[in-house]
């Protein structure tokens, strides 16, 4: 309370007198509004939300090291698209994106860690699937990266479509879905293939580059990353347009705490919404006085969206100021891997990224 007052008053200096009055009124009204807000569930119904608030930081489950999504940099600071989701939640909850503790999790550990309460949010390039949603008791709150399995071939083979791959030798990692999708796709299209199954990522890439197979298949993001960083001449290889599986990756929380799920979901959607509104970490301060009602709502000048979530009304401002919008996060983390936005563009640019309206 005190802290948000300090932040609020500090920022108020940069705001117009009218906004200042509005802010002061809102801060003054807060306790009353919290009690009256119909959206806010009664105390005690949100164990995770309450625990996180009391603890003062977000426990975030991440990958143990995946370029672009979550990895510690040379200074040991966590970076990545998945990491930014957790930072956004921390910015929304506490007005400070650094109030996150990361728990690196392996594929086997990740769901238990969430179920047992070791982490509050699992943001670890995890595919949203029926089984995980229903059977494992998880709530996937959003999709922060749309991935899917694809094919890469050397350009000299002159292949333009995956339909032309009949009889090909395919390098693949033994993993349930990748291997199965491959077999399904070839069977569905009545084509033959010879798999070359290699366990380690480095070795499978080397095998492909050495010409032991004609095609290399894995998630498109992985193909693009391999092509941009490990191939001597990226232009010698083509990623085919066919994507044969759906891999929507997104943050997940435990079943049973809707308020916490709402905070995580809308923290991510705020990043999307900001990109749509053209708000970035650079220009959001200049837009504090914007007359655009959508921006006014976004920065918390009007409306009570933060309070409805039970957090600071400047939650979305803090997210964008400290973490940036989705596009910025993508540019910073994923674009350097050579992965194009493609389906991860905003809906109005022809992608799948679509945030429900913030109103």
């Amino acid at each position: 309370m005190k802290k948000s007052l300090i932040i609020a008053s500090g920022l108020a200096l940069t705001m117009s007198a009218a906004a200042m009055v509005a802010e002061a009124q809102q801060v003054g009204q807060r306790p009353v509004q919290l009690a009256q807000a119909p959206a806010a569930p009664p105390a005690g119904a949100s164990p995770t939300f309450d625990a996180v608030r009391q603890r003062g930081f977000v426990q975030c489950g991440t990958n143990t090291g995946l370029a672009g999504f979550a990895r510690p940099n040379a200074q040991g600071v966590w970076e990545g698209l998945d990491v930014d989701v957790c930072r956004a939640v921390a910015a929304a909850m506490f007005g400070d994106a650094t109030k996150v503790r990361y728990t690196p999790l392996t594929a086997q550990q990740r769901f238990t860690a969430l179920q047992s309460g070791e982490v509050d949010v699992l943001s670890r390039n995890t595919t949203w699937s029926f089984q995980r949603d229903v059977q494992l008791g998880l709530d996937f709150v959003a999709v922060n990266f749309y991935d899917g399995q694809g094919f890469m071939v050397p350009r000299r083979l002159n292949v333009r479509s995956a339909r032309e791959l009949n009889g090909a030798t395919v390098c693949v990692q033994p993993g349930t879905t990748t291997e199965l999708n491959l077999a399904d796709y070839f069977r569905a299209n009545r084509m033959q293939f010879t798999p070359v199954v290699i366990e380690r990522l480095e070795e499978v890439t080397q095998a492909y580059l050495a010409g032991r197979c004609d095609v290399y298949t894995t998630d498109v993001s992985g193909l693009a990353a391999t092509r941009s960083s490990q191939v001597p001449n990226p232009n010698d290889h083509v990623i085919l347009p066919e994507v044969i599986s759906k891999e929507p990756l997104g943050p997940a929380v435990r079943h049973g705490d809707q308020r916490w799920a709402d905070v995580v979901r809308w923290s991510f959607y705020a990043m999307l919404e900001a990109e749509e509104l053209g708000l970035t970490s650079q220009n959001i301060d200049q837009n504090m006085n914007s007359t655009n009602p959508a921006i006014q709502r976004f920065v918390g000048a009007t409306g009570d969206f933060g309070r409805m979530l039970g957090i600071d009304n400047r939650w979305s401002y803090n997210i964008i100021k400290q973490v940036g919008n989705y596009g910025e996060s993508y540019q910073r983390n994923v674009a350097p891997l050579g992965i194009e936005r493609s389906v991860n563009r905003l809906w109005r640019d022809g992608g799948l990224m679509y945030a429900p309206p913030l109103r």
Partner: protein, 374 residues
């Protein structure tokens, strides 16, 4: 060596006795490397491959190696991938590999903690300290390490355990693993030879259960299954769970080593102690254990060395020990494919520790068995 001695003895007696290093070396080579035409051919072929391998390794690792890069771009390293090592990776990432995600500005504390560990190991080898003073030294030393790593007092910023990593983490897991597993293993070994059926059964069950599964599954149990048994809202730190798993695992193996030592003590020693009217604990503490532990120094150290390296398995439960940090340091696209350099760097560190342990135990063995030699 043994072969050489036999061969030297079998040389004709009228041969002039070789003096000087060179002629002795020539004699040795003749007796061991060129004793028949088959051996000569084998020696030459092996020497050729050895020299070739050594030369290409030296030129890869030292002469042609790239020690630093002018810019952030790793292209020069990639272009010369086949013939030169890229130590620029270690130059850039050494602090991450050594200290993991420990806050960058505070890493001097982690380095100091490693120094305290090394000092503790060094002091422990001094026999003058082998009494209650060692307990005091270790208590103070471990407290200092705790203060350095956690902080939160004396103006040091608090660093939560999740951020610990690299060499300090490996040393913590190994040191605490050995320090707690060893006493536990002695108790279990004694229990297994106890005359009380209940105690014996418990110890046998414990040892056989743990020895029946690989360390990986014990770690998985501790990190994946165990949290599910706890009531919601109560979580035990991942590091602590891994540490306890390592202690329990190591203790089971050490217990069998110690039991071997106990069984090697002649029955007469037990009977003599009984005849002196000593009780169980005094008999064990004064007569049996000192002899038993001396016998099993080599297998004990063998297990210690194994345990030290086994700590690297905690990578699979997502802790950034030395190996985990090395793996994470080559995740960045710029450095993908430079695993050899990172792994060689950490294997050098592992080797130094393991070799030191092995050498020290050899010295200890000689010293302890002096009374059996004339």
């Amino acid at each position: 060596m043994a072969n050489g001695r036999v061969a030297a003895v079998s040389l004709p007696a009228d041969r002039p006795v070789a003096h000087g290093f060179l002629s002795r070396a020539l004699l040795w080579a003749r007796a061991n490397l060129f004793s028949s035409w088959l051996n000569s051919v084998l020696t030459l072929v092996l020497a050729y491959f050895l020299a070739k391998g050594l030369i290409s390794f030296v030129s890869w690792a030292f002469i042609d190696a790239i020690w630093s890069l002018p810019t952030q771009d790793t292209r020069p390293c990639r272009d010369a991938r086949a013939e030169s090592a890229c130590w620029a990776l270690i130059g850039e990432r050494n602090r991450f590999i050594l200290f993991g995600t420990y806050p960058f500005e505070e890493q001097w504390r982690a380095a100091l903690a490693v120094g305290v560990f090394l000092a503790l190991y060094g002091l422990s080898t001094v026999r003058a300290f082998w009494n209650f003073r060692l307990v005091v030294i270790w208590t103070v030393g471990l407290a200092a390490i705790g203060v350095l790593m956690w902080g939160g007092v004396f103006g040091l910023a608090y660093v939560e355990q999740e951020k610990w990593g690299g060499l300090p983490l490996t040393l913590i897991l190994a040191t605490f693993g050995i320090a707690f597993a060893f006493p536990l293993s002695i108790l279990v070994a004694l229990g297994r030879r106890s005359a009380m059926p209940a105690v014996r059964m418990i110890c046998v069950t414990y040892v056989e259960l743990i020895r029946g599964v690989p360390l990986i599954s014990v770690l998985f149990m501790a990190s994946v299954m165990f949290p599910l048994f706890l009531p919601e809202g109560i979580t035990i730190d991942k590091l602590l769970r891994a540490q306890v798993a390592i202690i329990l695992f190591a203790a089971a193996y050490l217990a069998e080593v110690v039991r071997g030592g106990l069984q090697a003590i002649p029955k007469g020693q037990y009977e003599a102690a009984d005849a002196l009217g000593l009780g169980y604990w005094r008999k064990t503490g004064l007569i049996i254990l000192p002899q038993a532990l001396r016998i099993c120094i080599p297998p004990l150290v063998n297990t210690f060395i194994g345990l030290f390296k086994d700590t690297s398995l905690v990578t699979i439960i997502g802790l950034y020990d030395l190996l985990g940090a090395a793996k994470a340091s080559i995740v960045e696209p710029r450095w993908v494919g430079f695993g050899v350099e990172a792994y060689m760097f950490i294997s050098l560190i592992y080797f130094i520790f393991c070799f030191a342990m092995s050498k020290y135990s050899q010295g200890l063995e000689v010293e302890f068995s002096r009374h059996t030699k004339r």
